[in-house]
Symmetry: C2
Subunit: 156 residues, 2 copies
DNA sequence: CTGGTTGCAAAACCTTTGCAAAGTC
DNA sequence: GACTTTGCAAAGGTTTTGCAACCAG
């Protein structure tokens, strides 16, 4: 919960403010607490969970402000959200981005070497002119354990 | 809207009924209209859109029944739903399944050769024992046109 | 001062669920 | 007749939005 993990809050905050200003947007005092929660969380946290962490120190900051500032972080490229399944979106620092695999049976989340996606990226770029981003949606499937379990009951 | 596209409704329906019975479930008269809408739609239709098509001929069939029967089709492997973005899930016949690319800027949906995903499938299986299914979530990114457009305004 | 940001409450959006009645095997 | 499925209405979970007050540049 306190893992700042080599991320300098002040430096990141300054970058956010600079980029917001570049777009004619403004920087309020609410940015920092939300950023702190995001950095402390180290990934895989929903907006609501981040909001709870923010409220612990700043009860006056409303949940809708958390949503709005996370959106701003995403707009300026500092953070992004990912969908692992049917639940709420999970937020990460872009600096810590990575693709996810999720098991549709047990919900396990597996993080894999981003390099594995390189060849497909190149192929999609070449074949369709498409610049893929494998972080926004997870790849669903079945983990090794669940493939074994479901072979006797699974549809087709 | 009338493209039955080589799919024999009666045969598919019989398969659905058989599989439902195999699970101790029952087959009601509502199955066929929902299946017909799904077959006619030929992919990329939301449950609500399919419901509208069902209502045109069968106004008595409730939208929740459409949801429930689509779920049943998925349970028996005849259909699946996919998420292309933040909107509602889109439904397809499994027989016509394919992976999707969606552009986060313009919303374009690109369908690519499933073979492109083969190498990654094998790699994920080997490295993580994970059986990937690239149909459930689309791969997001930017299409060629939007990459060009956003290079001057994009974050980072 | 101009106009972006906040707190609040309410709505939006898509989907699921509880229940009694109807239908299936 | 036992048990599933339906229509209906209501709720569910997550996110967005309208608005007046507030605050940053």
């Amino acid at each position: 919960v306190t893992t700042t993990d080599q991320v300098d809050i002040d430096r990141v905050l300054a970058e956010i403010v600079e980029r917001l200003h570049g777009r004619g947007l403004r920087a309020s005092a609410c940015l920092r607490p939300v950023l702190e929660a995001l950095i402390a969380a180290d990934g895989h946290r929903s907006a609501e969970e981040l909001g709870e962490e923010v409220h612990a120190r700043h009860p006056e900051i409303h949940q809708s402000t958390v949503y709005r500032n996370l959106d701003r972080f995403e707009q300026v490229g500092i953070a992004y959200h990912t969908h692992l399944g049917h639940g709420p979106a999970l937020w990460h620092l872009t600096a810590r981005s990575h693709p996810h695999l999720t098991c549709v049976s047990c919900g396990a989340v597996v993080t894999v070497d981003p390099g594995l996606f390189e060849a497909l990226s190149v192929a999609l770029q070449r074949q369709a002119g498409f610049t893929a981003d494998f972080r926004h949606f997870a790849v669903t499937g079945r983990c090794a354990a669940c493939v074994g379990l479901t072979e006797q009951t699974a549809p087709r």
